[in-house]
Amino acid sequence: MAWLGPVRATEAPAQFEPHVQACAPCHGAQGQGTGDVYFPRLAGKPAGYLFNQLTAFKSGRRKYPPMNYLLEYQNEAFLEQIAAYFAAQKPPLPEPAVADVSEAVLARGKSLVTQGDFDKGIPACSSCHGPLFTGMEPAIPGLIGLKASYLSAQLGAWRYGIRTAAAPDCMQLVAARLTEDDVKAVAAWLSSQPAPSDPSPVAKGSYPLPFACGSEPN
């Protein structure tokens, strides 16, 4: 389940394109995302994160029937290549969304994302996802360029234990402490943030994690 090693870029992207064209209708040919607010951008996310999601869809741990169906009978070596392909794509990030929530909600979102909530034991998103929310190699995803609907659907799934990851499941621990209003606020603020000049995930070990995470080896 956990990401175990570096991705081997065995094929040049252009030659690999036919193998990922089945992903394009929902995620875009370069993984840039589409108009659908529930289908995430894949481009530029750490390969280990993408691989973990692909194997989770393959095994059924992460449940979304159209994805489970597509990946169930694929080998992990192929999933590694798919992950490497989308990790290497660098299409421009979308324009930030205009948040459709009140200033107070946005402020709550900003506070949770950048500082966390000490009393509730919620760490800042930035403490794992990076000061610029671009994620960290090999398996912590960036949070910029995702739509509010996707972010809040995923946070909701973590909260309710529908989405899980390898133990210790850090994201589930955090999400379980969020309220529905917190989720809405976090999603609204994150989705309205402009792209940093370099949206690449930072190198592995760039900063210590606040706690152990099964998906991100030390």
Binding site: H19, C23, D36, P65, P66, Y69, L70, Y73, F78
Partner: protein, 425 residues
């Protein structure tokens, strides 16, 4: 999870209970008859377990190998597959080779309890004693998993095992495979694998409301309950009959998942992924010889159309426009495709069958052929459920079913709409 390859009365044995009871009743026999197996026999057993595709059902999601726990949804409720590892408490660690053979051959556990026919004992009864012993030796060699079996969740009255007696009277014929002396050894080997371990009839023979399938309708095809995939007839060249395929194309399809004539998809992708890709050249060829023979002499399809012609011409013009903009880039304006990665649509039996279910679903949900040793990085068909309306799906499926000499019938938007809600897996 949806059921995989099985049809209706999909039921299972509560092996934990059976194993425990067996232990109480036959402790001495179980201990005495155990003899260490040699590595060659275990290797042979592993190969045969692949041929029987035991792993697809007896390994749960993220579960230990053969530890069971795979949910099979059936029209009668959900059953959970059982632990086949040599764990002495929850697996079959206390079984003997005699008990194992008896179980797969007769569909009865060591305590005499009846197995639900989700376990394909109607096919496995044809397996020889030697092959059963090898599979047993292999199963006894895998790491034991201390995983208890999960109770089934079957609705009344299907939770009453005595009903299985009636089912068996109607549909079960016990007996090992009897070679047909008028056929070649190769044909007989293929027949043994297809009818026995391969248990192909579980999907490719129509299943009736009682969850049974008739011997006289063997391999004539049928809709797989709850899966909404149509398992095509293997005896009719109007469907997936392989009568006019070359042996090479059949062997390619079975072993790699793709061929010059078409690719496997849906539930058959699982069969190739977990089972057929592991079989050797000789066995794949034997299966090809037998399968080709099943459909030789079957007449080609005749043209048909169920849509009035004025409506039909509108449908076709929309279908052509969708096809040219979405499909032709891979499958060619002439439907010739670029096999093996882009299957031909012209002359493709899978598209022209009287059931349009598979063609509609492929357009809606797309799909990859299985990743196999011979084709490790397949090219997948994109799903179009998000981008095409019901009308467009119906139009493009009607177009491919009736163009380039194809003899399928047009389909309606209602048919396309109905399949949107079918579970994908």
């Amino acid at each position: 999870m949806a059921i995989r390859r099985f049809g209706a009365l999909q039921l299972t044995v509560r092996a934990a209970v059976l194993a425990a009871m067996a232990a109480l009743r036959f402790p001495a026999a179980a201990e005495e008859s155990r003899t260490p197996s040699d590595p060659a026999m275990i290797a042979r057993g592993e190969y045969l377990a692949h041929a029987g595709d035991c792993v697809s059902c007896h390994t749960g999601p993220e579960g230990k190998l053969f530890a069971g726990g795979h949910a099979m949804n059936t029209p009668f409720g959900t059953i959970y597959t059982t632990n086949l590892t040599p764990d002495r408490e929850h697996g079959i660690g206390k079984w003997t080779a005699d008990q194992f053979y008896h179980a797969v051959h007769t569909g009865r556990g060591p305590d005499g309890g009846l197995y639900y026919p989700a376990m394909p004992f109607g096919s496995f009864t044809k397996v020889t004693r030697a092959d059963s012993d090898a599979i047993f030796a292999y199963l006894q060699s895998v790491p034991p998993a201390n995983t208890p079996d999960r109770p089934d969740d079957l609705r009344f009255p299907f939770n009453n095992r005595s009903l299985i007696l009636g089912w068996r009277t109607l549909y079960f014929g016990e007996g090992e495979y009897k070679p047909d002396a008028s056929k070649s050894d190769e044909w007989n080997r293929g027949a043994y694998l297809v009818q026995g371990l391969g248990h192909c009839a579980m999907c490719h023979t129509a299943i009736n409301a009682l969850g049974g399938s008739s011997e006289s309708e063997a391999f004539q095809g049928g809709l797989i309950p709850l899966q909404n995939w149509y398992a095509p007839s293997l005896t009719s060249n109007k469907e997936a009959g392989l009568g006019d395929w070359s042996l090479k194309d059949i062997a390619d399809l079975l072993r790699s998942g793709v061929s010059a004539r078409g690719a496997v998809y849906g539930p058959m992708a699982e069969v190739v992924y977990n089972s057929l890709q592991y079989l050797d050249d000789a066995d794949i060829r034997a299966m090809a010889v037998y399968l080709k023979g099943l459909a030789e002499g079957s007449p080609p399809a005749s043209a048909s159309s169920r849509i009035p012609s004025d409506e039909s011409s509108l449908l076709m013009s929309l279908g052509k426009s969708v096809y040219d903009s979405r499909c032709a880039v891979c499958h060619g304006a002439d439907g010739a495709g670029k096999p093996p990665n882009y299957p031909p649509l012209a002359g493709n039996q899978s598209i022209q069958m009287s059931s349009a279910v598979n063609a509609i679903r492929m357009v809606l949900i797309g799909g990859f052929p299985p990743g196999t040793e011979l084709n490790p990085t397949p090219v997948g068909m994109p799903p179009f459920a998000q981008t095409l309306s019901d009308n467009e799906v119906a139009a493009v499926v009607s177009y491919i079913r009736t163009s380039w000499g194809n003899r399928g019938a047009a389909v309606t938007a209602a048919q396309a709409n109905e399949l949107r809600s079918a579970p994908a897996d």
